[in-house]
Symmetry: C2
Subunit: 351 residues, 2 copies
């Protein structure tokens, strides 16, 4: 197959880790007989510096002519004082909305060789294997009115039935390929939008009789992610709850530095990025952990290109390298062989 | 002093644990020469059964003629299918709003003898000692419009500057009596209401130059509560974020069953309730853990009656009983002496 990939390296360690991912993808292309065309564009802080726009028209055009987008990270202290329209994260919000990337997929799985780094007790996180499905283009992030005066401010949480239906369907479809359980998280005892959300889930479940469904209030979900995270399979929720819960869940296994994410729509187009941020403090030193970017590339192969075997090959290689005790500095805990970004990427390529 | 206390026992284990708290308060009254008048009223499910109203007029009148309210818990499967106006939790929301109880105080402190019950590693939670200050009568819980049709739904997050000012002031005042640090949690990179919130915090801090202030985004706060909870002192945030974060924080030390809460306004009137719910499965068996209700009564003495020595006497007694290895069934882990609600309350009274 021939595929066009837009690479938006972004800020901080973004360039280093996306480069590692591109190298791994090139090896996959050779091995499985594909052609990947990589074209580079700007987003976030570097785009503000070059184009005075966190998501320049050039970048939108590049993505429109691509089959998927690989993103590094955006943000850094340099732009922290900027007015809100010139903040790196506006680029992220804008690209999600422009391309209607309504489904944010965040898999979180315990890595046996890294459990020592978890803040939770090993027996609690050992069996964690969940996928958080966050609605990404609706809710209070985009609802109108959204305004502020000197004396008051208002934000609006809106959802249409269609917006809820498509994300809930996505969750059911994913559950079928996993452990067959969906936990829908809402605040139906307080919010009208959550009542509609719960209604849609109840309706959709009729088309998925094979899937176990549970409803959980967001406050109690925030507790259970700590007390019994292994009980979750697919968790589906609206934009703001998903923002909070997916970040909470990202630290429980101790492997935040390894977590990939996908933001997709229904036709297969999607944006893939590591969950970790731009880490400006270690940028440019060649020590960043490229695992999350490499695993994001694997998600791209799976969800945008339908290349399951290729995705699995990358995931297996990453796992093997970890099990063999090879870590970058962030994970080594001084005990193991410490590798630079490049060395570690070579290990993965070797596998 | 002479004080009138409205006791709203509510549902499930509510009656058992509030009775234990009342007994402890009676001992405090004798020992410190106070007179407490306890008057009982209905709320939640039992109020729905008796009055077809989760917060009957009689209860409002009773609370209006009292100096403080001691509440057990509301809710249970019996009322789970009720229409939303006849749900037990509506009683809670209504009493908060009616009495303008805008400040919800949730202290969370590690108990050395109970750290084994924490889902987190001991070294991470050992030094936890924080107070979450949640705005309780504004935001998306009460903003209008809030409505739903078959095809869409909307909720509204509104805050006025005054609403933010009073809760932020409360947080600064509390920080002065504690470790001198305030973490303000918002989502200022997305929400207009959060921008106003941050503005108010920046303004108020000028009046509290002795207090260290930090701003944290809600998603990163949800992570830090797990990775480094001991770094927090006072955490102040809006209603919905506070709901999620305070429940998340309540499980980190393994002592959810012991956590008290206060919901107060500026004139000293307040409502005090354990954080744990109504636990219908163990209700009526005499095994419920009364510690959280007893510690809520201590908060009532401190915040509504200005009785610091009396509050501290209760807290010390509870601590001593735990350190001596006396637990109710929920905490004993089969290792220690297990006590019934009454026996355990006697131990506290003994101290
Ligand atoms: C940067 C910010 C706007 C963004 C969000 O809240 O969606 C980030 O936290 C995320 O989760 O990708
Ligand atoms: C019962 C519910 C409405 C309530 C809330 O969300 O405030 C509860 O979760 C709480 O935190 O006291």
């Amino acid at each position: 197959m021939e595929k066009r990939v837009a690479v938006l390296q972004g800020d901080g360690i973004g360039p280093e880790v996306t480069e590692a991912a591109v190298r791994v993808l090139e090896v996959i292309a050779r091995r499985f007989n594909h052609t990947f065309h990589f074209n580079y564009g700007s987003i976030g802080g570097e785009a503000i510096d070059k184009f005075n726009n966190p998501l320049p028209e050039e970048t939108i055009a590049l993505c429109e002519s691509s089959d998927a987008v690989l993103l590094g990270a955006v943000g850094g202290p340099k732009w922290d004082q900027n007015p809100s329209e010139l903040r790196p994260e506006k680029g992220l919000l804008a690209i999600r909305k422009h391309f209607d990337l309504f489904a944010n997929l965040r898999p979180i799985k315990a890595v046996p060789s890294l459990l020592h780094a978890s803040p939770l007790k090993e027996e609690i996180v050992r069996d964690v294997d969940m996928m958080i499905v966050r609605e990404l283009t609706g809710g209070i992030y985009f609802g109108q009115p959204s305004r502020k005066t000197d004396t008051s401010a208002v934000d609006t949480l809106v959802y249409t039935r269609e917006e809820i239906e498509r994300i809930v369907e996505k969750a059911f479809e994913l559950a079928r390929l996993r452990k067959g359980k969906v936990t829908s998280v809402d605040k139906a005892n307080v919010l009208e939008s959550s009542k509609l959300w719960r209604e849609v889930v109840e309706e959709k479940r009729k088309s998925y009789p094979d899937i176990e469904v549970e409803h959980q209030l967001v406050d109690s979900a925030a507790m259970k992610l700590i007390t019994n995270p292994a009980a979750f399979d697919v968790v589906v929720t609206e934009n703001m709850f998903g923002d909070i819960l997916s970040d909470e869940a990202s630290v429980i296994t101790g492997s935040l530095g390894l977590l990939p994410s996908a933001s997709v729509r229904s036709d297969g187009f999607g944006l893939y990025e590591p969950v970790h941020g731009s880490a400006p403090d270690v940028a440019g030193k060649g020590v960043a952990n490229p695992a999350a970017a490499i695993l994001s590339a694997a998600m791209m192969l799976r969800y945008s290109f339908g290349m399951e075997a290729e995705a699995a090959a990358i995931e297996k290689a990453v796992n093997t390298v970890f099990e063999d005790g090879h870590f970058t500095a962030d994970l080594s805990g001084n005990l193991d062989r410490v590798h630079s970004t490049n060395e570690w990427t070579e290990k993965v390529i070797g596998e």
